[in-house]
């Protein structure tokens, strides 16, 4: 059986989380921003599952199930919004959305 030290798993989830964070800040294309948010959610779920595995309890996995549900709902609404925005502005540039009047 494999023994991963808990802090190494947490380091992996931290690296993934801050990569997603960097993506949200740097990218201007709104699809890439949504993808980076997905990376961040996945990294948070990784931390939950690893902490649950550390104590041998199912709670971490239950929390990951909720995160998965939330991510699915968020992506469906977010992508519908992106389609509407693209229809209005003919652009995926998040800077061009500052002219939204009403």
């Amino acid at each position: 059986m494999i023994h991963i030290p808990l802090h190494e798993g947490l380091i992996l989830s931290g690296i993934l989380f801050f990569m997603g964070f960097l993506g949200v800040i740097v990218r201007r294309n709104i699809i890439f921003m949504l993808m980076s948010v997905e990376i961040m959610l996945n990294a948070a779920g990784l931390a939950f599952v690893l902490a649950g595995a550390h104590w041998g309890e199912p709670d971490g996995q239950v929390m990951f199930t909720f995160i998965l549900t939330m991510a699915a709902a968020e992506v469906s609404v977010g992508l519908a919004l992106i389609l509407q925005l693209y229809k209005h502005f003919r652009s995926l540039d998040s800077d061009s959305y500052n002219q939204m009047k009403g």
Binding site: H3, I4, H7, L16, F18, Q61
Partner: protein
């Protein structure tokens, strides 16, 4: 014996780095799928086979398919790829990179401080997860159901094609 973990972690980090640096959105999406599969390997070897399966089926399957459909509907071409390459060139990475590296450093310090505790080798079976999900967290399950319902209605409302209602006198003016 930890080699599998290190390989999977390396693949996950490298492919995530490629996701946030690609100019073409379909390439980025494929790298994101690779990253999710690597994370699911980590789940599997840390004793969570149920979550590993969910990660592959729902994240890498359903959610990424949604992304691919939307990218296909948006019909992004060669021109937008060129513009994207201009946006992500060079010095734009410096400021955010330093900021998130500082935050990552703080996080790593906090993680290493409590070092040396091995992850339990116990496999938490889907049965235990299900029992916990439908007894302790029953309220959470119902809230999640409400959230999904709201998501469905929201996506339907936002994605609906709205008919333009123009009065017949206006119509003659405009054409």
């Amino acid at each position: 014996m930890n080699t599998i973990f290190y390989i999977a972690a390396g693949v996950a980090v490298i492919s995530t780095g490629l996701v946030i640096t690609r100019a073409h959105s379909v390439h980025a999406l494929l790298y994101l799928i690779v990253s999710l599969l690597a994370v699911s390997v980590v789940f599997f070897i840390s004793g969570a086979p149920f979550i590993a399966a969910l990660e592959v089926i729902i994240y890498a399957g359903a959610i990424m398919v949604l992304f691919i459909f939307v990218i296909m509907m948006l019909n992004v071409g060669e021109a937008s790829k060129k513009q994207e390459q201009q946006w992500i060139r060079g010095s734009i990475w410096i400021g955010p990179g330093i900021l998130s590296l500082i935050l990552l450093g703080l996080f790593l310090y906090a993680a290493v401080e409590g070092a040396g505790v091995p992850l339990g080798a116990k496999v938490v079976s889907p049965k235990e997860v299900g029992i916990s999900l439908f007894s302790t967290y029953l309220l959470g399950v119902e809230i999640a159901a409400m959230l999904l319902l709201a998501g469905i209605i929201g996506a339907y409302h936002l994605g609906k094609q709205k008919k333009k209602v123009v009065h017949r006198f206006m119509k003659e003016d405009s054409t």
